[in-house]
């Protein structure tokens, strides 16, 4: 019966010089131990492929506070932060998009916000079938509404269709009309804000996703390198032990 304690000591080069000599002699004659030793060495080689992850540990309890620049490097973007940032950005953009564009043409009547262009409304209705005017203030808006109503009525009369706008507001735009237009503007802005918020959130998610993938790749690569380095260091230590033993035996 072979001594397995000696075998494992031989496997790790962790044994007294006398034991080593005994084992050397034994291996010359014992095929079973030679085969087992070879198999266990193979197992050790396989074990070296198991590398732990290499997270940024940075235990904080006695570590000096990092400088603001370092702190900023470790800053991460969370979904909640992304939404908040999107909201702030949307508000900023919405405030910049102050212009209102009213379009009137063959496709019908539409009101939407546009890019910030402060173009004064033309003083009178032009003859072209498509008209774009801006309404920076309430007096202009009232004037344009009255003008539009008039043009609608003209068109309706020409085509013999039923009136789109009821009578009673022909002379001047009522407060209800202004509320209607304001509501349409608000609805339009709200839709645009939602679209913008969704897009910004998506972009932030994409950036965060890409950052995480890059980080994971780097971490895994480092873990693998660390595993190789650890194994090399252990082997080197074992070699030193052997050299020490040889030196002592001399």
């Amino acid at each position: 019966m072979c001594d397995k304690d000696l075998l494992v000591g031989y496997l790790y080069d962790d044994m007294a010089p006398g034991e080593r000599r005994i084992m050397d002699a034994h291996l010359v004659t014992c095929d079973e131990c030679r085969t087992e030793l070879s198999g266990l060495r193979g197992t050790r080689t396989t074990l070296s492929s198991w590398a732990p992850p290499t997270p940024d540990l940075a235990f904080p309890f006695v570590r000096p506070a990092p400088s603001p620049r370092l702190r900023a490097r470790g800053w991460t973007v969370s979904p909640a932060w992304g939404l908040a940032a999107a909201a702030v950005l949307v508000l900023s953009v919405a405030s910049a998009v102050a212009n209102v564009e009213i379009k009137y043409g063959p496709d019908g009547f539409s009101v939407r916000t546009g890019s910030a262009r402060a173009v004064a409304a033309p003083p009178s209705a032009p003859a072209s079938p498509m008209q774009t005017v801006s309404a920076p203030g309430e007096p202009d808006l009232r004037r344009q509404l009255a003008d539009l109503r008039e043009r609608l009525r003209t068109l309706e009369a020409a085509e013999g269709s039923h009136p789109v706008l009821t009578s009673g507001h022909a002379q001047a735009p009522a407060a209800s009309d202004l509320r209607l237009v304001r509501q349409m503007i608000a609805d339009s802005e709200s839709r645009q804000e939602q679209v913008l918020a969704r897009r910004i959130t998506q972009v932030l998610r994409d950036v965060e996703g890409a950052r995480r993938i890059d980080f994971d790749r780097t971490q895994r690569a480092l873990a693998e390198v660390q595993g190789v380095v650890d194994t090399t260091m252990i082997r080197q230590r074992e070699t030193e032990n052997v050299l020490r033993v040889v030196h002592q035996s001399k």
């Binding site: 494992v8 193979g42 197992t43 396989t46 492929s49 590398a51 230590r237």
Partner: protein, 203 residues
């Protein structure tokens, strides 16, 4: 380089910076030990952090009869044991199940094919799973010897058991590992080139 013993002496005198140096020096081995014993990243991190907290609190009681690293290892192993008992479960491998070939392509070294890299990853996963199946005392002995390079005597002192028990645990654990890895299709090809491969179609 300042030795651990010098840094410990200064730390005991209230020098936080010295203890901080010890933390920086040993945090990664301690984390690796905890990770390999309990098999979970976040919990291993918690155990590692708790190890240093306990060490700091107990510095006054550390008389230097053992190496500082051995003392830290012992604290870590006790915490791991507590965690395993508390959770009443065996360690699990957190290795990802799927492998993205496209992603791997970017990580391949010039001398290494994707196939080799996949093999290396698969090997790591196979080892983690096989290790998780071992009894705790065999797993701990293998981890301390194989990955931390401790001597049999240091392990025996740390685990408070006879030297022959350590060798027996190692031998038994390695034998079981060898068998399990063979059953998982890991074979060894010694010589030049990649030393380890998974047989095609094996799990």
């Amino acid at each position: 380089m300042t030795t651990d013993e010098e840094l410990v002496a200064r730390s005991r005198g209230g020098d936080l910076d010295s203890f901080n140096q010890l933390v920086v020096r040993w945090e990664r081995p301690i984390y690796a030990l905890a990770y390999r014993v309990i098999g979970r990243e976040e919990e291993a991190r918690d155990v590692a952090q708790e190890t240093f907290l306990r060490a700091y609190r107990a510095l006054g009681g550390f008389k230097g009869q053992a190496k500082f690293s051995s003392w830290l290892y012992r604290i870590t192993l006790n915490l791991c044991r507590d965690w395993i008992r508390r959770e009443r479960r065996t360690p699990v491998s957190q290795a990802p199940e799927g492998i993205d070939i496209i992603e791997l392509a970017g990580e391949t070294e010039p001398s290494e094919s994707i196939e080799d890299l996949v093999s290396r990853r698969e090997l790591g996963r196979a080892v983690a799973k096989a290790m998780a199946m071992l009894p705790e005392e065999q797993r701990t002995a293998i981890i301390l010897k194989e990955y931390h390079g401790l001597t049999f005597q240091e392990i025996a002192d740390m685990l408070e058991c006879p030297l022959s028990t350590v060798k027996t645990r190692l031998y038994q654990g390695l034998t079981v590992l060898r068998k399990q890895l063979q059953e998982r299709g890991v074979e060894h090809v010694f010589g030049h080139g990649p030393e380890r491969r998974l047989r095609a179609g094996s799990g």
